[in-house]
Assembly symmetry: C2
Homo-oligomer: 230 residues x 2
């Protein structure tokens, strides 16, 4: 559009960077914060108008959202916000457990002292968020810590795959972040210690138990609430 992109107070994209990326970020945000509810039909023209762009970047972003598992793309019918089921959450957590366990082993093999120092920093951030009781900050810190452990594993494929799973887990994990937090972060500390000592077997085993605990906690929480699966 010939309009000057200077005035972009709300909603519309501000960055002169690739539009599809901005659209992708905007849509994930809208899905995470609940502006777009599971099962909702996403009309391309509507989204285009809402974000102030044409349908083309919208389509490309929807493709990426599809491969990332955020939306279901049904041919000749359009995009729908993905509706997570309890089975899928459990599967997601189980796969995440396997991948994270593997990355913990790699991290213990490759981590350097500066790397470990960075981990302790992230651990501190998490504890602060936990003390403040900010669920969103807790989840974010948790993701940052796990992401860095993945990074330390020096495995590009792992680093590419885990975020795909982890971001979705993050979404489902939000409601249980606070009650689970205390135990989780003390487990984190032990994992970091094992990585610092360069003990792959120990780090792997600790991460296995950590993710297993998280999964169990989630399943129990779901069971106690019952009927949260759409």
């Amino acid at each position: 559009m010939p309009e000057t992109p200077t005035v972009a107070a709300r909603g519309p994209i501000i960055r002169p960077a690739p539009l599809r990326q901005a659209v992708y970020d905007a849509l994930t945000e809208l899905i995470i914060n609940g502006s777009l509810t599971p099962g909702q039909h996403l009309v391309e023209a509507e989204l285009a108008a809402r974000l102030g762009v044409s349908r083309q970047p919208i389509r490309e972003a929807l493709q990426r959202l599809h491969t990332a598992g955020w939306v279901d793309l049904r041919p000749a019918q359009g995009a729908f916000v993905h509706s997570p089921t309890t089975e899928e959450c459990a599967q997601l957590l189980s796969v995440r457990a396997v991948l994270e366990t593997h990355s913990a082993r790699g991290a213990a093999q490759h981590a350097t002292p500066p790397d470990v120092a960075r981990l302790w920093e992230l651990q501190e951030t998490g504890l602060t968020a936990l003390a403040a009781g900010d669920a969103r900050a807790i989840v974010e810190a948790n993701a940052a810590l796990h992401a860095h452990i993945t990074h330390l594993s020096r495995n590009a494929v792992l680093a590419e795959l885990i975020p795909q799973v982890d971001r979705r887990v993050r979404w489902y994990y939000m409601p249980i972040a606070k009650p689970r937090g205390k135990d989780a972060w003390s487990e984190h500390a032990r994992i970091i210690e094992a990585i610092a000592e360069g003990d792959p077997d120990h780090a792997e085993e600790l991460m296995r138990r950590h993710t297993s605990n998280t999964t169990d906690f989630y399943c129990r929480q779901i069971a106690s609430v019952a009927g949260r699966g759409v």
Copy 2:
């Protein structure tokens, strides 16, 4: 890629015109068989002319190829066929090992007699290809068998993630398929037996050793050719 077998019951497969899917398949084929070499710049207009479609489906297919790891997409510069490194191959194989191991466990827990019968059919196909010495058929049968084991794990997330890794492994695996074949398929047989007996621990352990053997074989092969291993 396998469509959901739950609905694929009757009626001729009516494909309205999923051009992007056809383009995606065509391009992957071109990459696998070497018509498009690693590092090559993929010009949209050129591909469009070559496949007889417009640039739009090409663009969408390239997006998917990017997320699948087949091409690198550099902003404002275009798509380039991904150049695999030996480190990446090793990482790919290690991640695949972890995921396949997990899926073998799931398969042993959920497989029914008909499922097992199907596995034996696929095993037979593989042995036939092995006897014929057709490298391509061997790799294909191997992929089919592993894919079915993944399917039997009844884990949608796994079924979504593994092909992303496996198809790329398939590509790198081609050169070593024949020499590795004999041992691989006898190991397959034992894994199928464990699944048939519903023994998750045994199936998991066998698959772990199987993938480990494949990884080692690959690394040794690379080392003997290039002179530098991992």
